[in-house]
């Protein structure tokens, strides 16, 4: 048997752990001795669900993907709660505090990112730690700390009106706090939305009870008032918001220091090629938020998992040629009560680009498509969740769009409307099980079958699943009425729909919506 290679993975988050899972699923545990470093002190959890945990929708334990026992069962050596300190590429080893050293044949760096903390005065205490009552929102620990603090807090300012900030704000609103969002841009989510969509989103969020302040550059945290850890947040424009909790959600920065120190090629992120290996070391790979591919950083889970899968295919030998060509990026705002999906470009990029949009401020609906070469280059969909899946799939697959663009923005339900049997042509099939047309039912009536039972027996209509019996009955009744009256036809409105039917003699059964306007199955 071949000697196993040694594979070291730095990072046990959304990218690193997913990669190892994908690798193990492809027999990777038989090919490699796998060693992992995870800075957070537990197994792997789904970071995506943290906003849901903050909002109290998800229990923290329900976000766990792999408990510590899983690593053991797979024969993976996990340094949980241990930060990798140094990569010695000459010696092909990773070192960490406490005398840990692990040699590798292949190294995967998946160090993710950390919150960007803008320079706000008074944010740190005398020892350099972030002041009590001030939080960033990245880890399960951050989330737990926020929940604990929120229990006794009254008023919070969330710095940052991007995806994460809005999700944090919504979560804290659920916990009963008065929530203010201070956003630097002149409209919310300015990197994903255009101005009108941002304005409409603001309106929607205000409707939920959030207080939103635009064009706000946080300057400093103001000193505590009676007993509270923080007193408020002062802005560059001089305005000040009193609060007892501050959440900073101003974006993230990739963790690249370790790679930089070890001499790997680094720009904004660790520069990787299509096979996800580093520019200047083919035995070292980088995936996830810390990796820079064709000049781009990725912060969303779909591309991270795509990278994880591709690298696993490659290193397991399943597909040694597997390569990452970038992905089309889309996201949804995970805020209860708001349907917002964004993907690709938010504005026209070339003269040939085509824009289709629809706006209905009263209902908070805004839909916009950017179309390039007949395919979707980007979209914003606010306030209409039912439209989202179709547009999202068209974007993901880069489908050629229908000439009638509106069909994408207003997809038909595919459902048959309520059909009035009176309107059906005689060739229409009423009983699907037995292929009985309206004409045959009418014929049976005219042949002297006066009851539903007799008509069913004569035509076999309704003798299969029975679902058409109401329609058969309606036709039988209609025919009876026809026979009962030779009077003039009158027009009436039933169920909001104009139908023609003959005037009925007094003793004839009344036409009701039940026996006339029945759904066709």
């Amino acid at each position: 048997m071949l000697k196993k290679e040694r594979l070291v993975v730095i990072g046990n988050g959304m990218a690193g752990a997913r990669f190892v899972e994908e690798l193990v699923a492809r027999g990777g545990a038989e090919m490699y001795d796998i060693v992992m470093f995870g800075e957070e002190p537990h197994g792997n959890y789904n970071r995506i669900l943290l906003s849901s945990v903050l909002a109290g929708c998800h229990k923290p334990e329900d976000t766990l993907i792999n408990e510590l026992s899983w690593y053991e069962e797979q024969g993976i050596k996990l340094y949980s709660g241990v930060k990798a300190g140094w990569i010695d590429r000459m010696g092909a080893s990773v070192y960490a505090a406490g005398g840990i050293s692990e040699s590798y044949d292949k190294l995967v760096i998946a160090t993710g990112s950390t919150p960007f903390l803008p320079p706000i005065g008074n944010m740190y205490d005398e020892d350099g730690f972030m002041r009590d009552g001030v939080f960033s929102f990245r880890t399960l620990e951050d989330c737990q700390a926020m929940i604990d603090h929120a229990a006794s807090a009254r008023r919070v300012v969330v710095v940052g009106g991007g995806l994460l900030g809005l999700e944090a704000a919504r979560g804290l609103l659920e916990r009963g706090l008065e929530v203010h969002i201070a956003h630097l841009g002149d409209y919310l989510m300015n990197s994903q939305l255009d101005a009108p969509a941002g304005a409409m989103l603001k309106q929607t969020l205000e409707g939920l009870g959030l207080n939103i302040h635009l064009d706000k550059l946080a300057e400093s945290i103001t000193p505590p008032f009676a007993g509270a850890p923080v007193g408020g947040l002062k802005f560059k424009d001089g305005e000040e918001l009193e609060c007892d909790m501050i959440v900073v959600a101003a974006g993230v920065r990739p963790n690249i220091d370790l790679a930089k120190q070890s001499g790997l090629h680094v720009q904004h992120g660790i520069v990787v090629q299509d096979d996800l290996s580093c520019r200047n070391d083919r035995n070292v790979y980088a995936i996830g938020e810390c990796a820079q591919h064709r000049g781009k950083l990725f912060g969303l889970v779909a591309p991270l998992w795509e990278q994880a899968r591709i690298l696993a295919e490659q290193l397991s030998g399943e597909n040694p040629e597997a390569s990452f060509r970038g992905v089309r990026v889309s996201t949804k705002l995970k805020v209860l009560g708001v349907d917002l999906a964004v993907m690709g470009d938010k504005d026209l990029q070339t003269d040939e680009d085509e824009q289709v949009h629809y706006s209905e401020p009263a209902r908070g609906v805004y839909k916009k498509l950017i179309i390039r070469n007949g395919r979707l280059a980007g979209a914003i969909l606010l306030g209409d969740g039912l439209t989202t899946p179709g547009v999202l799939q068209a974007f993901d697959r880069s489908e050629l769009l229908p000439d009638n663009r509106a069909s994408l923005l207003f997809p038909g339900t595919g459902g048959a409307a309520q059909i009035d049997v009176a309107d059906l042509p005689e060739t229409a099939q009423v009983c699907n099980c037995n292929g009985v047309t309206k004409g045959r039912i009418i014929q049976a009536c005219q042949d002297g079958n006066g009851t539903l039972e007799a008509v069913c027996k004569a035509t076999r209509a309704g003798t299969g699943c029975g679902a058409c019996k109401p329609q058969v009955k309606a036709i039988v009744t209609f025919e009876a009425n026809q026979a009962a009256s030779q009077a003039a036809t009158v027009i009436s409105v039933i169920g909001g729909k104009k139908v023609a039917f003959p005037a009925i003699a007094d003793e004839a059964p009344a036409r009701t919506p039940e026996n006339v306007a029945v759904g066709r199955s």
Partner: protein, 695 residues
Amino acid sequence: MVSTPFQHDTATHCPYCAFQCGMRLSGPRESVVVDGDEAFPVNKGALCIKGWTSAAPLAHPERLLNPLVRNAAGDLVPATWDEALARVAEAFKSIRTDYGADAVGIFGGGSLTNEKSYLLGKFARVALGTANIDYNGRFCMSSAAAAGIRALGIDRGMPFPLEDIASAEVVLLAGSNVAETMPPIMQYFEAQRANGGVLVVSDPRRTATAAAADLHLRLTPGTDAVLANGLLHLLIRDDLIDHDYIQERTEGFERVRQIAATYWPERVERITGIPEAELLQTARLLGRANTAMILTGRGAEQQAQGVTNVLSFINLALALGKVGRPNSGFGCLTGQGNGQGGREHGQKADQLPGYRLIADPAARQHVAAVWDFPEEELPGPGKSAYELLDSLGPEGGIRSLLVLGSNVVVSAPHGNNIRERLESLDFLVVSDFFLSETALLADVVLPSAQWAEEEGTITNLEGRVIRRRRAFAPPEGVLTDLELLEQLAARLGRERWFTYASPEAVFDELRAASAGGAADYSGITYEKIEAGQGVFWPCPSVDHPGTPRLFAESFPTPSGRARFHPVLHRSPAEEPDEDFPLYLTTGRVLAQYQSGTQTRRIGELEDMASEPLAEINPTTAERYGLADGDMLTLETRRGAARVRALVTENIRPDTVFAPFHWPNEQSANLLTNPALDPTSRMPEFKVCAVRIVKD
């Protein structure tokens, strides 16, 4: 065997689907009057058009009334039974001598009675000594079967009677179009809804069933497990799972719960194409209901991940705490007439009667003792259906094949390959009552009796064993399949093991062979079936009343607990790309049945569905310049089929649906992908990549 005399007003069951409607036949064979049997508690008198017209093939002018043998000129010409059977026996013997016993294969069917399925399995192992027997039920129920055994310890499609549906507050029907495939079942869903119940259907198409539902989840083909995992995620999140039940009656939930953490709604929406709001609505309906059922059909099962798809829905039912509770639980809706019984008694490559595994030494000893045959001479497991067909010919090593009750040229995937394989055989013998597309390729064709001409038992989709009764003796020159197997065995020198006084005698031996197995029929007798409108298996002794409802106390697993299985979905084996940009999904229409051998010969049915109509969304039709009714060609990497366009909103824009009942250039199975499920060996009929070529 003695033939029973002509009987007037015979109570029997429809020859087609697993619903097995009770019907009464009267009048002469040439003009049989069919009536729904109101006394039978399953269909309660209802029949669909296929049932009403089911007697037409009995006296059909194209019916085979004598054996056919291929002559030196290559033509099929009439022959006597003696000539035909001699030829078959000679061919089998010489192939066995030259290439070994496994070089003779058998392909059976899910429409055969229990007695025939059982005897065919015994014939393979005892008369031919071949390991290679499998049947078309592999294309039907194998994924549900494998999942049921793994998770619940037993494979009985529905572990409760149909009547329970009417009292379920919520039913999720995953990938099943019963309004067309077994229309009389709809009375139970109608009753359920009349009782205030809610019906949710997941299907890429807005089928007649989906249209009758309260909520239609229009999922992307091949994403069933994502839907199930996504619903589980929401149930966990909103704490709508049954912790006590999970604790007391199941094992393995922890890992499943962790995997569910990776199926959050936004991700599930993106993959399945089902709006988040509908996912949440479905989860809440299921989670808040006191009684809820999840039922799967071929849509979820006929995929290369069919087993895990079904497991993911079982996970859901278990997490809800509904399996084994009144008017609740998990079930799969069996397709073919005897799809249930046909998979229990040794017609499958890896099985012996009573749902025993042929690789299990104890099972072998038990069955060998019942058969009075040396255990060491019983072969081991053979090849599964598609693999068996793919091994036909000199290369694969199976040089001769007996086909009974199946038309594989039309019904198996990758039809071009199947035809080539069949043509490469040294010898093919087909038993059927029409000259099917498969029979046309045979060296010998044996005319068989039809359903109304034979006695036996069928096990319906509920696990209820019922009686098929003879209304007419077979026409002169036609044998029942049981008689055929007896006579052929005698010519192979195995008469001692194949001499029965009646079909009931075959059944009595089946009872003994199944005794102690998972599908225990030992306590079921013809008399008991007749006295009680059927008996539900397992029924381990004659004084046992049968078992309509399973799992009330425990599960037939080693621990007595149901088992959760972690399911990570995979992409279909073939996904749309630039060359083949659309999904193709296949299925059935109401007025035709399976390969259409019978139904395409019935005028009334042909009037309703005379050719395959490919369902295409208006948006897609517009792109290809197609109007409703236009002819077009569908092409995949495996073949092409000519169909007519049915332009309809009922299909997703990214998907084309084609029914598979037609042969030759109209055959949808020329297109389908034979990628197999790793466990059940089920081919991926329900999803592959296709392109439209306009005329």
